[in-house]
């Protein structure tokens, strides 16, 4: 996204939230949202102001079938038990298996799930500031971990976990906190875990990472990979 003036940013965000920006312009704007914190803030401004306006009519309870459909949809592509039940710290968190996960599991050959696209995940803090950018090179089978705006915690390390519904989290190592990106080569099982779950989490662990191979500290952040 090119540098644009505050005025233009305000106008674009207003048009987007109001709904009068359509089609490709809307898609382009959503792409810019991923890149610009200022644009996200401006969008949130309009979302707060407009969506707080009174409704024109009274609340109208939807028919019961809507909730049934939601339940069905969230259960639909997986087994019911796995989707809703919290089977472990992460099991529930990742229960909803996405279409892309299903494609990865069912369509791609199990022996070689790598395809020629990159995927990216941005780990953000509570105010949506990016802390790390994680890029997956599927052909090379490695992750590129880039710290964006993160300080090293005292006597601790941040550890990255690959999450997949119904399985234990798999470590992808300690995240870098200083300038510069690092590459982490993934084993076939790590890559399969990542492709199947497409979700990651960051926990706070003793220096050097979890001593047990499983999460021992608090889980601070979660994110999802999107295909570029």
């Amino acid at each position: 996204m090119k540098n644009i003036s505050q005025e233009v940013r305000q106008e674009l965000a207003a048009r987007y939230v109001l709904g009068i920006m359509h089609g490709k312009a809307r898609q382009r704007f959503e792409r810019w949202l991923m890149e610009s914190f200022e644009l996200r803030q401006e969008t949130w401004f309009w979302e707060r102001e407009l969506n707080n306006l009174p409704l024109l009519s009274e609340d109208s309870p939807p028919p019961q079938r809507v909730w049934k459909n939601i339940e069905h949809q969230l259960n639909g592509h997986s087994t019911k038990e796995k989707t809703w039940k919290r089977t472990s710290l992460f099991g529930g968190a990742l229960a909803a298996i996405t279409i892309s996960t299903l494609i990865a599991l069912l369509v791609l050959p199990q022996q070689d799930i790598r395809i020629s696209h990159e995927m990216i995940a941005v780990i953000q803090n509570q105010t949506a500031q990016p802390l790390w950018t994680i890029k997956l090179d599927e052909q090379g089978g490695y992750l590129v971990l880039r710290p964006e705006n993160i300080e090293k915690p005292t006597d601790k390390d941040y550890e990255l976990w690959l999450l997949k519904s119904g399985t234990q989290p798999v470590s992808a190592g300690v995240l870098p906190v200083s300038q510069g990106e690092i590459q982490v080569r993934l084993s076939p099982s790590q890559l399969q875990q990542l492709m199947a779950g497409q979700q990651i989490a960051v926990s706070l662990e003793p220096p050097g990472g979890s001593p047990t191979g499983q999460v021992t500290g608090p889980v601070l952040y979660q994110s999802t990979f999107v295909r570029l």
Binding site: E11, N52, W67, R86, Q222
Partner: protein, 177 residues
């Protein structure tokens, strides 16, 4: 109520199904009204509401206070889903002559809109707009009208309507800041 909703969303982010059902019970009435305002078709409104709650389930961990109250955040998600469905339909179908639309034309509820605003600053800012600016912005907001549809509804040239909306939004931005 908002504190409760924040708590529920935090629990939904941890994949708590019971919390999700409570969140649905507490908010679906309001969100369904938003869908009906935009889509004016009961079945499509149900579809939009369903999609909105699926989004809430998947994105609960992304909620934070800069996005407004939990209900505001969920309203935004719901509006976007409803708008998506509206835009994916044949444009000719978008302004239908359903009984609901007829009624809306006969007694324009937007005339009474300002009375419903309790926030004094927001009330003042909308009142400060010209009637045309206010009507154009509100038709787009409440019913998901495009520029063309606002122009047809207000029987005004497209360029004029675009200008009303642009200036209306710009005035609101200055006033609400």
């Amino acid at each position: 109520m908002d504190t409760d909703l924040t708590d529920l969303i935090a629990r939904v982010a941890m994949r708590d199904q019971a919390a999700f059902q409570r969140l649905y019970t507490q908010t679906s009435g309001r969100l369904f009204s938003i869908c009906r305002q935009i889509l004016r078709d009961h079945h499509l409104a149900e579809e939009a509401l369903q999609e909105a709650f699926i989004q809430v389930w998947h994105h609960a961990s992304e909620y934070h206070c800069e996005r407004g109250s939990p209900l505001t955040w969920m309203s935004a998600i719901t509006r976007y889903r409803a708008l998506n469905i509206l835009r994916s339909r044949n444009p000719r179908e978008q302004i239908t002559d359903t009984a609901e639309a007829e009624e809306e034309t006969a007694t324009d509820p937007l005339d009474h809109f300002i009375n419903g605003i309790h926030d004094r600053k927001v009330h003042y800012c909308f009142e400060a707009l010209s009637q045309e600016q206010r009507q154009s912005v509100l038709l787009a907001f409440y019913h998901g009208y495009s520029h063309h549809e606002v122009a047809a509804r207000l029987q005004s040239p497209l360029g004029t309507v675009k200008s009303w909306i642009r200036r209306g939004l710009s005035s609101l931005r200055r006033c609400l800041s």
